[in-house]
Amino acid sequence: MSEHHAHGTEPSSIELLPIELLPIDTAQASLDFVDEWRNAAYNCYSSGHKFCREVCPVMQVTRNETWTPTAFHANVVAMDKGELDIADIAEDYVNCTQCGACELRCPNTLMLGDFYRFRTRTVDLVKAVRTLAVDTGIHQPQWKTWNELTDARSHEPVLGEQPVGQDSVREWADGLDIPIGGDDILFVDCEAAFYRTSVPRAVAQILQMAGHEFGLMQEQWCCGGPAAEMGYRDQAMRFARHNLDNWKASGAKRILVLDPHDYISFTEDYPKYFGAEFDLEIVLVLEVVAEYIRSGALTPRVAIEKTITYHDPCRLNKRKGVWKEPREILRSIPGLTFNDVDHVTQWSYCSGGGGGLAIEKPELTALISGARIKKASELSVDTLVSACPWSERPLSAAGEPENIDVVDIHEMLAESLGITVGGSRGAR
């Protein structure tokens, strides 16, 4: 069987109890969850279009209808009718990268937004199911370990056995002479801070070249976003609280973000956690840099003789609508042959690195990143440029046998600006 029950849950042969006979906390939490999601679930269930299916990165490689946005919504209807419970469904919701493609391709989103201010929110639903699972004691083994280690170290264990922690979170910046504190704080996600350190080094030096003053946090913790994505909401909120307090204490006004996942956390999760208290401006570095190029503050002059295509990171393109600026930046770099693929076509592309999938099911991530690299390979490129550190590790692994190099857009821009970036592009 491929679909074993989640760690610590009852096997499926146990007769299902009506919701009201379940232990009170699980029952109440399940009822609250169904109440919150009933309308959205019926809106999908009633539509029945399934247009989401062929853009879903997981569906594309597994062809398993159990793991589709349609099934994810229908399960809520089944819970509402007492046919399924959280123990039945929890493990299925691992199979989602939270890329958001299904939401965009949903006719209910496409056709109802104007009149009903409605859009399909599969990503939020997946997060809600994962949260309900964790809250009721259902854990996926790898996620549980990952979040325990994150909690213990204040950073995600992106280097495996090799420890990460507060004492090394700023090592990437060695020699760059970046102050602590200031109006603008550069926030560096765990993957970039410890694994692909060339990305934050490139970002910092580009900003320095443009004369943009910024500092680092006094004590930076993980943004908490991955914990939230995997259902560990309380932990995510604790981490967010720490970071917010730290920013406030240092008088920060703006947070510069280089990682699309952090951008989601700070623009979507934090405002929900803190409401009006969260009054900081969140700025995507890519957009700032594009503006510096437009204004002439930065001019890439070193020719890079490569044939590239650009990977639209899901959280920028599909979830935030940011796709113009990366192309603007790449088109400003001399020497490049840019075989671009339209950002709408890329709704169905994904690296497989998001939503915790790479932690719990690395084999699926590998299939998804392999499929993405194959698309690049068909364009006869030697380099795939991304703008998301979390995509770059799985894409690099998939690109190696195809002789496709995976480069971060900031790394490439820095090179064209004549900057010697330094740092590591991760274990190769």
Binding site: M1, S2, G48, N64, D88, D92
Partner: protein, 506 residues
Amino acid sequence: MTAVLEASIVEQLVAAIAPVLGEANVLTSKTARYSRARVPAPFPVHRWAERVPDLVVLPGSTEEVAHVVRVANEFGVPIVPRDGGTGLTDGAVPERRGIVVDVKRMNLIHEIDLENRTATVGVGISMLKLNEVLAQHGLIYPDNPASYPCSLLGGRIGTSGWSLIGSRYGHSRDLVLSFDMVTPTGDIIFVGDGGGRKISKSSSGYQLKHLFMGHQGTLGIATTATLKLYPKAEAEFSAFWAFDDYDVAYKAVGALARAGIATFAGAVLFDEKKVEYLRRDDEAYIPQPESVKALVCSVGYGNSDEVAAGGRRMMRIARDLGARYMGDEISQGDWASRHDRYATPVHGRTLSGQVALMSWHCEDAAINYTDLPAVTREWHAIVEKLRRKHDVFDDWGMFAYTSSDTGVDYLTEIDIGIWEEKLDDTTWAAFVDAKREIAAVSLKYGGSISACHGSCREGEVDLVPQELGGGYDVMLAVKRALDPNNIMNPGKYGLDRAYDNEGDRR
């Protein structure tokens, strides 16, 4: 209601199938089974559990499908093929539980033959994904149902699907040249025009292709198919026209369809109720003057010069009949979003006008041009009676689409909103009665119960023997001969009648 299989039998089935398909491709979890009990056609939610299969398998090859079918015969367990699961006549619904054979993994492109213009593919492929690849060669597989973004080739074969641009390129039966299939006893056969895989017309032997398309999974499971390809059209022409009354719009659609324009790919007539429905929420139609009572859309595909000439002729025909062209934005936009926009749950309204999340259901038929107005009137009357009696139904209007390039017959559909969440046994029974009445009207006017979906759902299925007459007896004989154990998708099309102990089987 069929009882759930005993756990020990499920275990034996798993033990017999998993060594060949791999454990990962044999699913027994509740969610795997519940998610394959459904298709988009509305059904009372409280009866969901009645049709949940005992087991789901995901074969990866023709041989694996054959193995599963042989195991099912050995154990006497029903088997139900499922591909996209987007059909509207329950073909993929496991009415007697058993084993769902989900063929979505079989989605490889085995060959693209650029010289003969064919593609050989696994039936789990989506036309949209196939066309993404074919576009690199300037080719297209032009089977374009309303479900184009999600339906899969196997379902197109199993239902003998209908295409929105079929008046130009033909429908699934014309575009699928041949296929491998697994018979209900687990044999692997080849079906095509004669014996060649890439032959479009043969006179050798019985013409089996039509028999093995549109059987709703009752005669076997197609696995690999060879398809006819066309040059990807250089140009598309789409025009929407508004009319002050249905009768003039009806005349216009007929004139367009009969005009013999080579690039003509289809015309659609929207009736008054459909326009009223679109006005509820649709930004393209809300600003239209109240005088607009019907719409016609007509499209053309092909080489640029030919499409331009054909388009000019279509514009002239419509204008001469008093049509008002609705402009490029609506014309191009509506046609471009033809798969997305016409059935959204929140368009549902109760009698008092309250928004209710309603599921879309489409009753279809093949109707001759001359009978469209009468059928339209009678169908609306049936649905009006239904919704007056039970305030969980809504009339979402009618479309009539050309099925061919001569305008002889039309896929005629009435869209019914159904508040599925509220559907109880009483309202379901009333709906089934209405479906039967709708089918009866189609037959009264010399039409066919379905042009597109199939006719094996409750209600209309009762009239299939009447529609087919002696042909239905041949259906029974064929079913009995090919599926001696009544294994393959039992319960559909009333085919239990083919067996001695009707009702005792499965």
